[in-house]
């Protein structure tokens, strides 16, 4: 039996401990804001926080989140009003939108460590998150807007 705290709530899991967290979130908890994109940690669509650090839930086994604290996009803010979410809406970042929750979650962990990021630092940090629609320039702008608000 694996115990894990997700968005402040204790959850238990008694299935295959090798199953990635992504499928526990999506198939069992119906938390579908975390997306399946590649299953190999290559696109970032499944990004969540483990003890505050961005991780790829598609390659993180349930056994590796036992006793940990997980935050998904559903738990990022109470009312969808995290500075990044507000900045995302202000800049009209999303096109299809599928990758955006992963982008926001990765950016949220990044901004906790770097309050005044440069373009290069944003590019380096966000290069693990693919957006096939090509919203990168707005993502970069939104991260800067949010960084200002959070500073």
């Amino acid at each position: 039996m694996i115990k894990v705290k997700i968005n402040g709530r204790e959850r238990t899991f008694d299935g295959d401990p090798e199953m990635p967290l992504l499928w526990f979130l999506r198939d069992e908890l119906d938390m579908t804001g975390t997306k399946f994109g590649c299953g190999a940690g290559l696109c970032g669509a499944c990004t969540v926080h483990r003890n505050g650090e961005a991780i790829r839930s598609c390659t993180t086994a349930m056994k590796d989140v036992a006793g940990k604290t997980i935050t998904t996009v559903e738990g990022l803010s109470a009312n969808g009003d995290h500075p990044l979410q507000k900045a995302w809406m202000q800049a009209n970042v999303p096109q299809c939108g599928y990758c955006q929750t992963g982008q926001i979650m990765h950016a949220a962990a990044f901004l906790k460590k770097n309050h005044h990021p440069t373009d290069d630092e944003i590019d380096a940090a966000m290069s693990g998150n693919i957006c096939r629609c090509g919203t990168y320039q707005r993502i970069r702008a939104a991260i800067k807007t949010a960084a200002k608000e959070m500073a």
Partner: protein
Amino acid sequence: MSIENVSRRNFLGGVFSAGALVLAARILPEEALADTNEYHGKAASAALRPSIYLGVEPDGTVYIVTHRSEMGTGIRTTLPLVAADELDADWSKVKIEQGIGDKRYGDQNTDGSKSIRGFFVAFREAGASARTMLVQAAAAQWGVSASECKAQLHVVTHTPSGRKLSYGELAQAAGKLPVPKPEALQFKPKSEWRYIGKESQIADLADICTGKAVFGMDVKRPGMLYASVERPPVMGGSVQSMDDKAALQVRGVKQTASIDPFKPPYTFQPLGGVAVIADSTWAAFQGRKKLKIEWNNGANASHDSEQYKKELLETARKPGKVVRNIGDVDAAFAKGGKIVDAEYYVPLLAHATMEPPVALAEFRDGKVEAWVPTQNPQAVQDTVAGALGIKPEDVTCHVTLLGGGFGRKSKPDYVAEAAILSKKTGKPIKLVWSREDDLRFDYYHAVAGMYHKAAMDDKGKTTAWLHRSVFPSISSMNDASSMYGFNVEYGMGLNDMPFDIPNHRAENGPAKAHVRIGWLRSVANIYHVFSGLSFADELAHAAGRDPLEYQLELIGNGRIIDFKSQGVADYWNYGESYEKFPFDTARLRKVLEIAGEKSGWGKRKPGNGWGIGVAASRSFTSYVASVVEVEVDKNGKIHIPRTWQVADVGMVINPDRVRSQFEGAAVMGASIALSGEISLSDGRVKQSNFNTYPVARMNQAPLRTDVHIVESSALPGGVGEPGVPPFVPAFANAVFAATGKRVRNTYTTFLLVGNSPEKFGLIPRNIVVWHHTVIIGLPLRDGCAAD
């Protein structure tokens, strides 16, 4: 500005009030309005219903149906904006409903950049009809002339007396009036437009940013099981023998089921194979790994991309089928002068939508209900019906949000798989494609070999141009013996090159398809415009001229191109009337000239690792010029600091979504130019995930793209696709300007520039390395970098 997202409720079908007004578009017969069912949402049963796309309820709510699919263009918001503007509705009282698949909506295949082109008029008429009827109802109630009444922001006012009635108060009375004839409608003058051409936000914005938006991957039904399919690794193969004992031992796996291989031609049929059905996606994936299958590989088992590339380029050296002819190129070449020639190559490309193909289907009592991220819900109905031997009207297709489309999700093979498995298991089945499935079993953008040859006089003027193109055609989808392209592919940059050359011939050589060929954002324009506009740049350099100036000279004077007199009997023109949407070279010249001004063209001398390139093309009836700036460092690593996209797309409804499409097209263009290749050996696709099929990431995409929309009152043209074609040659031309090395094969950019893929910084291994070094705390499983 925001509107409530009703998509999830609509998946369950709407419940209608007894007294609302709903309007149907003119393209539909009157009886279409009468026949509604539980899936047609609230618009269908509203008190006032002047169009199948629109209804007004007594509480003032305006329901507008979007029958086109939302895959990132914003169309789910933009078409309703058109109707809401003409109705002069208060946008906060508008609710958008997603239409199910239904022929009564007219064409629903959301591709070809044609949603606005095709339905601007219908939605405008829907809004105008509703407004007219509301005004008439108010006038009747007051006993005044309708001409004394004005509809404004959800209220009709009798101007002389100042009396007011809201749209809601008028809906029931208006719903009893006859729908006006389209020719009797009066549209609002441009000066009164409230939403068209103004800044708006997409309806799903907040849901997307908070993870509440519902994509196909997110839909669930009670009792649902998950399925993953092992497909024949070679196109046209089939199962010879199968052992599922180990698969059935995997925890969570319920059963396996076979799917028959397609009967040629491949069309939208499933590829066949063996499905593993389980109680979670993960269990289905795990079970699939344990299947032991022997395959019959069939006729494509020896297909090899390297060999095929040689064949395409050899064929391009031989005379082909003439698809356009002006003057006599052979005579012009015989005269001598300066002869320039070059061959170009674009490999197979995969769509790689962020959401892989996925479908939920539920077979019950001989009928299917499906929830699908699809660009083409009517094709879902037809394909599922064909696969199960039922009638298309017995297939209900709910359309979810799409996590990207790019043409892949117009082909519903994945929905047929889900429906077949639901029928076999008696359970609702969610069929999930892995990323590996997506890249290995796509309907690929065609690989193409092109040959260009030109003659130049002593003043550097191009006097003759031969353009040959060889590619496996999309027509192989419906004709297994297909060897040649057709007018749709020819009309994308092969038989409509805009240059005014006295001797010009375009030819298409034969090629057989060995994989499924489909259409990908901007389709044949990708290879035709890449090669044609790269060659134009080569000619400029051969003539010792400025590339932008030379391109303008090649285009010549502003004119409407007369294709009929040039041996083009069936110019496709993107399916549009040539009278309404002629090929106007003056508009092409204009976007080029503006691109030159905006980018400061000519102000800095290229070379020493800095370069700038330009290209322009017309596609989907819109005119676009791209300017791309590149920096190439001493290791051969390419950086794109800035690009300009100048577009004349005719009238613009939603400017921000137009800009976003052109920003995105620059990134997709960068993916094509920098990193994309699907290749096969032994008939099997070699790439499998984003490590072996890299697409542009933030640090590889253009740092900044400036979009300039040309003010235009022309009919609305396409927006989703036209930004891609000119970007790729503009990039290649910039690389030449920076390095003196010519990119003639999009995939080998790095070889030409850096001479060593390791130096290029874009090879798959490096992407994996980032994950270890740059992104702290990311666990990388063994094997995920193995490909």
